[in-house]
C-alpha cells in the first residue's frame, strides 16, 4: 500500500498501474473559460491528483496565482493555504485566507507574458472522500518564461475546513475574474487505496 501511494505521488518506485485512473479532462478552447470545473467526482478512490497546464487571460506580463474550491464552497474562512515560493533570486513564505477558495495551487502566466509559455501544476488531494477529517492538498507548481517576469516555482499546501463532507466537485479559478486561456488543460486522476 505504501509503495503504491508513494510511487504514484512521488514516483520513487514503480507504480501499480491499475491503481491510478484517469477520471476527466478539461481542455480550454478558443475564447477561454471562466473556471475549470470537475463535477460529480466519484468517491471510490482514496486520493485525487490534478495535473494542469494553463495560462490566464488577466491583463499583465507577469504571473498570478490560481485557486481552487471544493463543492462550490465560496466561504473564504473555510480555506487556508501556504506556499514556499522561489521567484527570480527571492524566496518567499506566504499564507492566504482572504479569497473564496484555496490559494496558491498554481501560478499562471498572464495575457501579455511570454507568448506560448504556460504554467504547470501537480496537485494531490488526499483522502478527499473522508467524512471525518478536514481535506488537505499539496501542490508543486511553477511558471517559466525565460525572463524575470515569469519565473516562479512553488511548494504549496492547503486545507478545506470541512471534516464531514466528501469532496465531489473541484473548481479551479483564476484571479480577478479573469479566464483560463486557450490550450489550458486540467486532467483529474483517481488513486485507489
Amino acid at each position: 500500500m505504501f509503495n503504491v501511494i508513494s510511487g504514484i505521488l512521488d514516483s520513487g518506485v514503480a507504480p501499480d498501474v491499475g491503481a491510478y485512473e484517469a477520471i476527466a479532462t478539461i481542455t480550454v478552447g478558443v475564447g477561454g473559460v471562466a473556471t475549470a470545473d470537475f463535477t460529480s467526482i466519484p468517491s471510490t478512490y482514496k486520493h485525487l491528483q490534478i495535473r494542469a497546464m494553463g495560462r490566464s487571460g488577466e491583463a499583465g506580463s507577469s504571473t498570478n496565482a490560481i485557486y481552487m474550491r471544493f463543492n462550490n464552497d465560496t466561504t473564504s474562512s473555510n480555506y487556508y493555504a501556504h506556499r514556499l515560493l522561489g521567484e527570480n533570486t527571492g524566496v518567499y513564505a506566504q499564507s492566504s485566507q482572504a479569497i473564496s477558495g484555496m490559494d496558491f495551487i498554481g501560478q499562471w502566466p498572464l495575457a501579455s507574458s511570454t507568448a506560448s509559455a504556460f504554467g504547470v501544476a501537480i496537485i494531490d488531494i488526499l483522502d478527499y472522500a473522508s467524512t471525518s477529517k478536514n481535506k488537505t492538498i499539496r501542490s508543486l507548481n511553477g511558471a517559466e518564461g525565460n525572463n524575470t517576469s515569469v519565473c516562479d516555482i512553488s511548494l504549496s499546501s492547503g486545507v478545506w475546513f470541512n471534516s464531514s463532507t466528501a469532496v465531489n466537485r473541484i473548481t479551479l479559478v483564476p484571479f480577478n475574474g479573469s479566464s483560463f486561456s486557450q490550450y489550458s488543460t486540467f486532467a483529474l486522476y483517481g488513486i485507489k487505496g
Binding site: 514516483s11 506560448s116 504556460f118 511553477g142 517559466e144 516555482i153 490550450y183
Partner: protein, 161 residues
C-alpha cells in the same frame, strides 16, 4: 480500462555514460522521468528535448535549500534545462521530472522537477523549452564528466481521460 500510468523504459548503466537518451516516448499526456544517479563529479544534470542543443531556447527557475539556507536562482537563454545537482561517490541523488503535455504542438514545453542531492541540498525547478514541437525524445547529461555505473533512469507515461 486503459492503462493510465505506464512504465515506458528503464536504463541501468552498466558502465559510465556521458548521457542517457529516451527516444520512444509513446502516446501519453505527460511524461515522468525518475532517476537515481551519481556522476563522476558534483555537477548540474541537464535536460534537452529532441536533440535540440541550440543555445538560448531553454530556461530554468530554481528554489533550493542547503541545510540552513533557502535560496532561489535562475538561468535564461541556455542550451538545456537545469535539472539538479548530481552528486558523486556514495551520495546518490533522486530526481523526478514531470514533462507536461509533451506532445502538444501549440505551446512551449514546461516541466516540473524535484531534485535531491540528499547529502547537500533539496531543490525544486521549473524548466522551459521555447519550442512548440511535440517532444519525441529526451536526453539527460551531466554538465561535465559522466553518469556512474549503476545509475538508473526510468520513464513513465501518464494518459489523461
Amino acid at each position: 480500462m486503459a492503462s493510465t500510468y505506464v512504465p515506458i523504459a528503464t536504463t541501468t548503466l552498466g558502465s559510465s555514460a556521458a548521457s542517457v537518451t529516451f527516444n520512444s516516448l509513446g502516446s501519453y499526456t505527460d511524461i515522468k522521468v525518475v532517476y537515481s544517479a551519481t556522476a563522476s563529479s558534483l555537477v548540474n544534470s541537464r535536460l534537452q528535448f529532441n536533440g535540440d542543443s541550440s543555445s538560448g531556447f531553454y530556461s530554468t527557475q530554481v528554489l533550493y535549500g542547503t541545510g540552513s539556507t533557502a535560496a532561489a536562482t535562475r538561468q535564461s537563454n541556455q542550451n538545456s534545462i537545469w535539472v539538479d545537482n548530481t552528486d558523486t561517490g556514495s551520495n546518490v541523488n533522486t530526481t523526478i521530472i514531470d514533462v507536461m503535455n509533451y506532445s502538444n504542438t501549440s505551446t512551449y514545453k514546461t516541466c516540473l522537477i524535484r531534485g535531491s542531492a540528499a547529502s547537500t541540498q533539496v531543490d525544486a525547478h521549473v524548466g522551459l523549452w521555447r519550442n512548440t514541437n511535440a517532444i519525441t525524445s529526451l536526453t539527460l547529461f551531466p554538465s561535465s564528466g559522466t553518469y556512474s555505473t549503476g545509475s538508473t533512469f526510468t520513464v513513465y507515461g501518464i494518459k489523461a481521460a
